[in-house]
Symmetry: C2
Subunit: 222 residues, 2 copies
């Protein structure tokens, strides 16, 4: 009962086939029957390993998060300022995700469903989420900011990133150039606000916002 490599092999075969078909034909147009047939197994077999069609996408999440982490790591060598770093991280994400835009739109509705395992807040998405947040933690190294804010900032930035994703999914402009605009022009604003977050007048507002963020558990909704 330890590691029947057989099972793992079938599992991998199924998820790999599924992800390939998703990429080739989109999420909705890929039926469970097609996946099973292409993988050379029965439909029931797929359901033996994955509770639902949605669960097959979880692997995709993890792959993307890992790809983003690796691509981002290369950006932190230069000692650029916060705004440049954040911009770079988000643009890299955009480049990585661009090929999957149509695909993403199709299963996005499942991802935003609070009860779905695909929700970015769900426990199933835990590892992908942690990976994403850790990117922002690294991004913040060496950045001067109100310490009260610093602790929550990685999660707040991740939340902002989720907002960008939300916009991206709705973005119908050619090549999602509007999302690119959103990123390149919103990050300087965030940078300025961050810089101002320490001056009196704004500081109290900032701290109240951070406290609210903690109290309502915005970071652990699922």
């Amino acid at each position: 009962m330890e590691k029947p490599a057989k099972g793992e092999q079938t599992r991998a075969l199924i998820v790999d086939t599924a992800l390939r078909l998703f990429r080739e034909h989109g999420y909705d147009r890929t039926t469970m029957r097609a996946i099973a047939k292409e993988a050379g197994v029965s439909v029931g077999n797929a359901y033996y390993y994955f509770p639902s069609k949605e669960h097959l996408v979880q692997g995709f999440y993890d792959q993307m998060a890992e790809a983003h982490r690796q691509a981002s790591a290369a950006l932190f060598d230069a000692d650029a300022d916060f705004t440049s770093r954040l911009t770079a991280v988000l643009l890299v994400w955009l480049d990585i995700s661009a090929p999957y835009h149509e695909f993403a739109v199709q299963f996005f509705k499942n991802a935003i469903d609070p009860n779905s395992p695909l929700s970015p807040f769900s426990t199933e998405s835990g590892t992908a989420r942690e990976t994403a947040i850790s990117i922002h933690r690294r991004l913040l190294e060496g950045v001067k900011v109100d310490p009260k804010l610093r602790e929550e900032l990685p999660e707040l930035l991740w939340l902002f990133q989720m907002g960008v994703v939300l916009y991206w999914v709705h973005d119908k402009s050619e090549g999602q150039r509007n999302t690119r605009t959103l990123i390149t022009r919103s990050t300087p604003l965030i940078g300025k606000l961050l810089a101002m977050s320490r001056v009196p007048g704004l500081r109290s507002v900032t701290r109240e916002a951070v406290q609210l963020f903690r109290d309502i558990g915005l970071s652990r909704l699922g």
Copy 2:
């Protein structure tokens, strides 16, 4: 070909029955067959009037928006300040929506789908959206604010409201008290930021944000 009252009657019968069953048993557990049977028509007949099950919920949207408009109108008599007004408007929305929380969660995934007619940005949701935005326009009457910002503010507030809805749908706390907290404590922050939006330092940030908001058409995504 003017007004065959017959058709309108059947249409109303179907949508009324559907909304009742949705309320009683939830969206997912209410099948098209059940709706048809309860209304005393055939399944195909329901599809003659409504292109999909989702379209049946549109009536629910409009009802809610109208109820919110009426309830909000009563709040604007007293010459309260901006923060109080915004808080009141959002809390009233929360009270109106509370009974439908479970129901709303079930079809929320469809509502957030960019391709769904239920998306708050879709043309089909146009009237409900206009109603909601007009509430915020009324709310802003007499409030002093940077004129550059004033024009976009109703839509920005509506967008904020959509954010609250997004949180509300994910809110699993007893009676959605976390959403209540979010509203009562975030609105003062918005009020303060609005007040500060005219002082130098923040004004430039504000204007850039407004310009960005216009350029990427955040208000007309669908």
